[in-house]
Symmetry: C2
Subunit: 212 residues, 2 copies
DNA sequence: TTTCATCTACCGGTTTTCCGGTATATTCGC
DNA sequence: GCGAATATACCGGAAAACCGGTAGATGAAA
């Protein structure tokens, strides 16, 4: 196979041992060319600016940045590059955040070589992919995610949205053709229902419950 | 196979035609028993209160509630029940929200019968599962998700967090042993960097960027 | 060493939010 | 038809946020 037809793969991991292990695992694959290995986020970003990379195996823990932000930067710089997170972090929130930031998949480091190859292929075909353990983590949401949100009336939801858009009570009142005093009342009811004492905490809760 | 050993499955969809189609597709499966079909969320919730359901195929569009909230309620009522979303909605945000609310998987309605069976099995084994098209949607995040967030200093991130916890300027100042006036300044810088005019909009943006 | 970013701190004033109440009209389910 | 929930509206006062400035201290990079 011509060198140029091979899949170009990069590795970013602060642990040199891990890099070596991955290289050993991948170097005998016909279709893959390891374009580079990096122990820092900035090192890789520099490389990416002048080289094509089809897929990158990215650790979360890095010396100069965190993998979450780095993933986002990679996708901005080169949207066609697949980011496959490869990490020890098994927190559901981190996995979801990684997806939100544009990752094509997530593997825990205990995944087998076979699993890794499967995931690489699936990611390159444009689909998200996870190692088995990660699939189980995602399917098992914590209690906090499911905690009941106060039930809001239609008007309250409406006003909540407008508040989150940065509108003031007066502005909302005008937009809805209501008395500012009425909007005030709804606002207060929102604070009560969420058991918070100002809009900052209100919006945070609402956002975490996916209400915005 | 004994009736009691079969997997109990329920269908919730406001479209009777879809229910019939799914029933036809599943009725000849040895391992599955269709425990009930419902066209409303409340109908199913009532059933779930007194019957075991291993897995439910859940539509998003429902007459009396939306599938997102319903999914959350189902998982609260019966955490062991797998929820497989089966919908026409192909928006990434809805898929992610559904996962956040405890779904074990997501299929678009154009998925094949074979895909459906695979997903049911994978979900029952405790792993998340998606139809092929959904995997592609997840792997393709929108530009909005990746838009660059303002570069925040350590102090600013710290204060942003405290604000989102509902703390006041005075409270934050005390907690960090700073002058309230200093905290004020940081707060103003945050509003400027995010180009918003109050904390409500600030927290919304920060939450959407996963900063909280 | 100089420059740049950040952190710190202050003044004075305006706007908005927050909180303690109270109260009537409407709408929806039983 | 009758509650219960919801939506509407008001008062007054205290607290907090927001805004437009300015400016010294610190620390790291060039």
């Amino acid at each position: 196979m011509l060198e140029n037809d091979k899949i170009t793969l990069a590795i970013v991991d602060d642990h040199p041992v891990v890099i070596e292990g991955l290289q050993k695992l991948l170097e005998n694959k016909e279709v893959i060319r390891i374009a580079g290995s990096f122990t820092s986020g900035n090192g890789f970003l520099g490389f990416l600016r002048s080289n094509r990379v089809d897929i990158v195996l990215l650790d979360i823990t890095l010396p100069d940045a965190n993998g979450l932000d780095l993933c986002k930067e990679i996708k901005q710089l080169s949207p066609s590059t697949c980011v496959l997170a490869l990490s020890n972090h098994s927190e559901r929130s981190i996995i979801m955040q990684m997806l939100q930031n544009g990752a094509s998949g997530y593997l825990l480091k205990n995944a087998s070589g076979e699993e890794l190859m499967n995931c690489i292929n699936e990611a390159l075909s444009g689909q998200v992919t996870f190692s088995r353990e990660v699939k189980e983590i995602i399917a098992r949401p914590g209690v906090s995610e499911l905690k009941q949100l106060p039930q809001l009336t239609r008007r309250e939801k409406e006003i909540l949205h407008l508040i989150s858009d940065g509108k003031t009570t007066a502005g909302i009142a005008e937009e809805l053709s209501l008395s500012p005093l009425t909007v005030e009342t709804h606002r207060r009811n929102l604070l009560q229902k969420f058991e918070v004492k100002n809009v900052a905490a209100l919006i945070k809760m609402a956002a975490q419950q996916g209400l915005l």
